[in-house]
Symmetry: C2
Amino acid sequence: MSGDCDHHCGGHHEGLPSCGAQKGTRGGVPEFAERLRKKSRRVTGARKSILDILSRQSHPITIRGIHDQLPKGDCDLATIYRSMHLLEGMGMVKRYEFGDGQARFELLREGDDGHHHHLVCTGCAVVVELHECGMGELEARMVLSHGFTRVTHKLEFFGLCPRCQGG
Amino acid sequence: MSGDCDHHCGGHHEGLPSCGAQKGTRGGVPEFAERLRKKSRRVTGARKSILDILSRQSHPITIRGIHDQLPKGDCDLATIYRSMHLLEGMGMVKRYEFGDGQARFELLREGDDGHHHHLVCTGCAVVVELHECGMGELEARMVLSHGFTRVTHKLEFFGLCPRCQGG
DNA sequence: CACAAGATGCAAATGATTTGCAATTAGCAT
DNA sequence: ATGCTAATTGCAAATCATTTGCATCTTGTG
């Protein structure tokens, strides 16, 4: 199928907005292609397109969001779902859930553990990326006090952004 | 030191286990009936049963979990879904999402803001309730630095409980 | 260039949650 | 008690996000 990547940020969708600001600078797609090959996974047109789209997002994007940005019927929804599982399993994307029933994904660069959180506006759904998190010690305390290991956490913030504070 | 988990539910249940341990002591149902009346909502048999079941849980429970605990076909699933929306809207229950696609609910006593989090075992799904959270200042900083108001957060921890650490 | 392991498209299947609608019921007035 | 009306419920059908079966097509390799 096609194989080219040439999508421009498509305007506004009602879901969570994701206008603008390229995030990853250099076209990281080849970097990911390499990672795929190393695990004997194929670098297909669909995956390239998906990675390409992911690489130009500044916020987590939904499966449907990805699909909508792909030229016409370039790639089936099922394929995107399958790809996201694969990429997630390979640690190339991270899954987020903002509580609206749809999973959202963000690309993870090599060596990036992607550990950060989001501040989501409950009014317009704008997303702000947060990079501080001081959860480390709390997590550690939990390990000790409850005997759990491999403790991770999911943390997201919700509130009203300046624009939605009407009045 | 200690590695005690207060739970010891076999693991037969598929979903998240909810070992007995009554939580709210006194039958709080009448308290809730009162709250319902105050908002001109009816105290129906279905609601009483649901509140009763919720009141005897020690961890968040799913809709299906509630349904399974109701005598035979005592109350329709749709009714439980509708009730949970109502109760959530009235601040009588709090919704949690542990990432497995099903919502879970916990009853909130009068004056209880229900602010706490959970430590969920990724192996057997045992749930430990956590009551510390030190997110307050982080939240406040967020308000200031991004101009958001009414900021809240969702925070859940995941890890392997002592029993599931075998191997 | 042939091949087998992988991938993909399409349609049908799941699973959780919602909704339309007619039948029932709780809470208040009579 | 009895009646009345709005709130509720059961049931079935509808949504929605996500999965999966399967036949067909591709990629990476020899």
